[in-house]
Amino acid sequence: MATSATHAGYAADNYLNHSRGLASWLFTLDHKRIGVMYLIGILTSFLVGGLLAMAIRAHLMAPDGALPLTNDQYNQVFTLHGAIMVFLFIIPSVPAALGNFLVPVMLGAKDVAFPRMNLGSFYLWCFGALFLVGALLSSGLDTGWTFYTPYSTTTDTSVVLATFGAFVLGFSSIFTGLNFIVTINTMRPPGMTWFRMPLFLWATYATSIIQVLATPVLGITLLLLIAERTMHIGIFDPEYNGDPVTYQHFFWFYSHPAVYIMILPGFGIISELISVHSHKGIFGYRFIAYSSIAIALLGFLVWGHHMFTSGMSNLTTIVFSALTFSVSIPSAIKVFNWLATMYKGSISLTTPMCYALSFLFLFTIGGLTGLFLGTLNTDLHLHDTYFIVSHFHYVMMGGTVVAFVGGLFHWWPKMFGRMYNEFWGRISAAIVFIGFNLTFFPQFILGSRGMPRRYATYDVEFQGLHQMSSIGAFLLGFGLLVAGLTLLHALFKGKLAPSNPWGGATLEWHCSSPPPHYNFAHAPVVGDPYEFDHIDYDRSIDGYVFTSPPREVLPKTPQAEPATAKDSHS
């Protein structure tokens, strides 16, 4: 068919202007609007958490603290940095913001399965965030984001408020995950078999499984912690014959899988980015898809590696070490597959691709340094030092956050119908990359040289590396600021986006930018999500168009769909 003009350009009636007024946003059931509201909330949290991080790094410029913060204040700052970044930003970042926007569109569906629950989980998120902010405003929180007992049962700060906030946020996360599992299971269009789903959906599915299975355990753990603080139930508090290590088991049974809640969606984004911007089908689709599920399941078996020094029996410790190594293999598979995807592709070094390349570099370091920590005798030395801090920032920030920002740049034209300035986008990617390595690489050395984490003051011999790290952090913050301004600028001044600016083959590139209220007027025709042969560049609209109907790639025999599918529409 001809390149219809409606492909290019801003759709006149879209989800952004379909209805107007604040109430039409606050009570919307549209997954795209909910995704956008999540995005606003999450980016605000990221800003707050980021400023706290800057405060931490500024304070650590000098051994006795460069900012006029007391130790107590420093402890509150790093605790809030951790709690905000983990609970408010990174866990909901990709699934709740990008996922909400993309999952139904990629499925060719009109909405998620339970739109009301979707809005409900957004408000639960807000409610949980209010509690965390409430904790901050009342008497702060100084337990570290892990709330380890018995410190958390004895400190004077508002632990109950904060844990209740985290509890509520957990339910927000559970409902989001539940919604996605059901949506992906029951609302796939005819023709989209499990192995024709975009890998982002596989990653989201794997993430959702973890959210549904692990988060309730966090819920009960936090409830028990609240009960411990208010009623002294004596389960975690040694004062009443409880056992603090039991708390750690409970906590990490959730919080280790939570690490994969954070990173798996990042993998999903990178799979899309690398493939689309290399204009080549993803290499080893099934291996990537299965490895996501493998990570999700293996992730449940390795929580004990957070407790190698806590006093578990030798056997338990060694078993957990072995399991920990097993989880590294699926991650390695993915990295190799992404590289193979780039091989002999047609690579556009767009902003999202720059972030994706940056991700590959940083995540590989993050993953490899995990090996030092899974190995028992080196872990005894490195545990609770800056080596850990650096390791998980390479994975969480270098992995997830870089992927998230890359994903924002990738889908921004789709979400808001505007193109951003490529030059500044790429500059931001470069600054973030340099700033990140300058911040966190010195921390590996700090850690292996024996600098414990969560120290408000430190011995003078560590000062050089700390200063290097702090300078890097400011650079990193600046880079993210540039990225943010580039995106903001695009919202107001960017030129209108074509419906397919990068040449993607997944369904979201079939609808206009931004998508209309119901995403698709008619159920879209499902093709291979990684088939780029029939997508050509059209200079006149600076975007890509589908040159031949993708129907060729329809399966020969239409799926044995659950009886009815779609008939009511044709």
Binding site: Y148, Y151, G311, F325, S348, H381, D384, I445, G450, A456
Partner: protein, 361 residues
């Protein structure tokens, strides 16, 4: 190769980029495991990055370019890069576990020290009533630490020995080490100068970090608390002194809990105040910390949590040291650990004298 170039960045380093000094029997094995993993990682990482950069440059095309390959999978390749790394991982796992088991099995006949961790200091009990905040051991002789905590979780970490173990309230955790490098003793002149400096410029507070040796003139290894434990977590540090000989160690032991010749009770009390953890909670300048300030305290009368009144006299001070939770001053929390069995009568008397002396003249 970058060592000389970067060395100003990390100060007084003379033992390579990655590690602090290597001073126990474990350090060699841990470091070589670390280096083995490091080289394996580099062996994986460099090709990945080269491929990444090379692909990004070589296959870069302007918009609209088509991929030159359509290969979407290759089972042989994919299975081999899934399986091959697994063998490498097994090597790491086995090596790490052996090293770990070494660290978990204290040899028989190890010298034993009972370690008590509390917010925010350590107290090492050598038996026979000898207690000190410093950890002392003898070179080439295994030492076993039996550790407990009276409040929250702490973690004993000696980077130079590559050992770490959490100290969990409600249970005993055990760790051991055998130091291979002995502390050196600085010259008497240097020590005297440092003591003088501490007396003149720092109000008698001898911070080993400042001088690089302890009050007795030994160089030392850092001992940190590695598990976050609250306000002064980062100051919950002490020193490990490794003696050349058993005799030297015993000489130190003999002197450890005795008031030095020629020191007054007040001076000794002040020293105990600084070294035994009092100062982290009780100020001597009137500032309110976790506990009441000692400034002008003696002889005053306070309301207790129970509603009674108490006058701060020798008996009350002594009771508060030995059984801190018996009488809590209103507005403060019952968080102080008991020092029963950790301070000799002489030491308690000296502390009382010191607190008395803070009332001024």
């Amino acid at each position: 190769m970058f060592g000389p170039f970067l060395s100003p960045l990390w100060g007084d380093v003379n033992d390579g980029l990655w590690f602090p000094q290597d001073a126990s029997t474990f350090a060699g094995e841990v470091d070589s495991t670390f280096n083995m993993i490091l080289w394996i990682c580099i062996a994986f990482f460099i090709p990945i990055v080269i491929a990444l950069a090379w692909f990004a440059i070589k296959y870069h095309q302007p918009k609209g370019g088509k991929a030159t390959s359509r290969v979407r999978h290759n089972n042989v390749l994919e299975i081999s890069w899934s399986v091959f790394p697994a063998f490498v991982l097994v090597i790491m796992f086995v090596r790490g576990s052996w090293g770990y088991l070494d660290q978990r099995e204290p040899p028989t006949g190890a010298a034993e020290v009972n370690v008590q961790a509390f917010k925010w200091d350590w107290s090492m009990d050598y038996g026979n009533g000898i207690v000190s905040p410093e950890l002392h051991a003898v070179v080439n002789q295994p030492t076993r630490l039996v550790m407990r905590s009276t409040d929250v979780i702490h973690s004993l970490y000696v980077p130079a020995f590559r050992i770490k173990r959490d100290v969990v309230p409600g249970r005993y955790n055990v760790i051991w080490f055998e130091a291979t490098v002995a502390s050196e003793k600085v010259s008497q002149a240097e020590l005297d100068e440092a003591l003088k400096d501490a007396e003149e410029n720092h109000g008698g507070d001898f911070d080993p970090e400042r001088y690089g040796f302890t009050r007795q003139g030994y160089t030392y290894f850092d001992l940190y608390c590695a598990e976050y434990c609250g306000r002064d977590h980062s100051q919950m540090q002490t020193v490990v002194v490794v003696h050349e000989t058993q005799e030297d160690f015993e000489a130190w032991l003999a002197a450890a809990n005795v008031k030095p010749e020629g020191m007054t009770d007040e001076e000794y009390g002040r020293q105990l105040y600084q070294t035994r953890g009092c100062q982290s909670c009780h100020s001597i300048d009137g500032t309110r910390l976790v506990g009441p300030s000692f400034a002008g305290l003696f002889g005053t009368t306070h309301a207790l949590e129970s509603g009674e009144q108490v006058t701060v006299d020798e008996n009350y001070v002594r009771e508060s040291i030995l059984d801190p939770r018996a009488k809590i001053v209103a507005g403060y929390q019952a968080v102080m650990p008991s020092y029963k069995g950790q301070l000799t009568d002489e030491q308690i008397n000296s502390l009382v004298a010191f607190i008395k002396s803070l009332n001024g003249d």
